[in-house]
């Protein structure tokens, strides 16, 4: 495959990861923070941005680690541990760098970074990347698209939930219950994008 067609494939994969195959609404990854941190838009925004950044970077790092370390050594089954360690180390490093050079960014983003280590969407994106056998350039598109898709979903969710605060919801349905129903409606809306991309 030449360079140009790889770029266009990366673009298609990116759009697909945002809309038709949203990592949250179609694959259920990253649901815990999605339900926990979606009460107000500010927090959701910070967490979403952090996820975009970490997801893009770690899928790339994990791609390199998988194809240049694990495959030559035939240690593919070891990928779970290696990916987790890389993600944790990367998050820790980012936290330190941000704290040192940009206290302002640290204030808005810092609290969310440790949460991300246990976000299954991050590990999930890396595992999908391995299973679907993406090339390096396509992986860039996939990581970025998945991050943006997650970001969009949590922002929309936080916006809706903020408006719900004054509504009368049955007591048993309050909190996670209503959040899941909203997520279902959102997932339904996102399936409407199916067909935007031919051949997907």
């Amino acid at each position: 495959m030449n360079f140009g067609s790889e770029i266009s494939e990366a673009f298609i994969v990116c759009i697909a990861a945002i809309f038709t195959q949203n990592i949250l609404l179609a694959y259920f990854l990253g649901l815990c923070p999605f339900l926990g941190v979606s009460r107000e838009i500010r927090a959701a925004f910070g967490l979403g941005l952090a996820v975009i950044f970490v997801m893009t970077a770690t899928t790339l790092l994990n791609w390199l680690a998988y194809h240049y370390v694990l495959v030559p050594l035939q240690l593919e089954f070891f990928r779970f541990i290696l990916f987790i360690i890389i993600i944790a180390a990367f998050v820790q490093l980012t936290e330190m760098v941000i704290e040192r050079y940009s206290p302002l960014l640290y204030q808005s983003l810092g609290v969310f970074l440790p949460l991300i280590t246990v976000n299954c969407a991050i590990l999930g994106a890396s595992l999908f990347m391995v299973i679907r056998d993406y090339s390096f350039i396509v992986t860039i598109g996939y990581g970025l698209g998945s991050g943006i898709g997650w970001f969009l979903a949590i922002i929309a969710m936080a916006g809706i939930r903020q408006r719900l605060t004054n509504d009368r919801i049955p007591r048993g349905l309050q909190g996670p219950g209503i959040a899941l129903i909203i997520a279902g409606l959102m997932a339904l809306a996102f399936t409407g994008f199916t067909g935007v991309l031919q051949g997907q």
Partner: protein, 206 residues
């Protein structure tokens, strides 16, 4: 000890059910609830991982330095998940393929870490094992319920076998339930029912 076991069992299955009350760890498992068979395998893997890693964390609790315990716990969990993954790949490759990356994602399932942190780290291995076992069983019950609803109403089958009425021509299959939004709806409604019953109980209790 017997009363303790009973309390642990009741907590896991009902009073402190991981999904119904704590709403933990739905991420990686909700995705496979479109078929009952997938859910069964996935939940078996989860039961194995939770109970054994909780017990292992408990055995090592004196030896682990506090500040790196998260890392140690993650490695223990990853160890058991790798065992499951390798076994599935070797003996049941079709299932391994259809579960995709979700077996590996048990590592980041909050419930495994949650039980290790909440119970395994502070209790003897036997009790930690039981706690993990019953928490995971409580989790399994709810997921199986979701999977049964989705498979029967959406496809008219149960474990792949056609169900009399629902696979017939008089039943318009609810395809939406097999698709991702269906999982959200069914879980949301189940949570609603579960919590309403519990709240009612609390009210009647003096």
């Amino acid at each position: 000890m017997k009363a303790e076991t009973k309390k642990i069992a009741l907590d896991g299955l009902w009073r402190n059910n991981p999904i119904g009350i704590q709403v933990l760890g739905i991420c990686s498992t909700l995705a496979v609830t479109n078929l009952v068979a997938n859910t069964l395998v996935m939940c078996a893997a989860l039961i194995f991982t939770v109970s054994f890693s909780s017990a292992t964390v408990s055995i090592l609790r004196q030896l682990t330095p506090r500040n790196i315990r998260m890392m140690v716990e993650t490695l223990i969990m990853a160890f058991y998940v790798i065992i499951v993954d390798v076994l599935l790949k070797a003996y049941w490759p079709e299932m391994s393929r259809s579960l995709g990356p979700y077996v590996g994602l048990i590592i980041t399932n909050c419930i495994v870490m949650g039980r290790c942190e909440a119970y395994g780290i502070a209790n003897p291995p036997g009790r930690a094992f039981l706690d993990g076992l019953f928490q995971a069983l409580g989790y399994t019950c709810i997921l199986l319920l979701i999977a049964a609803f989705r498979e029967i109403l959406g496809m008219g089958t149960f474990l792949g076998w056609p169900v009399p009425f629902f696979s017939g021509p008089h039943w318009d299959k609810w395809i939406i339930l097999v698709m991702p939004p269906g999982a959200f709806f069914v879980l949301g409604i189940l949570l609603w029912i579960f919590r309403t019953i519990q709240f009612r109980k609390e009210k009647t209790r003096p």
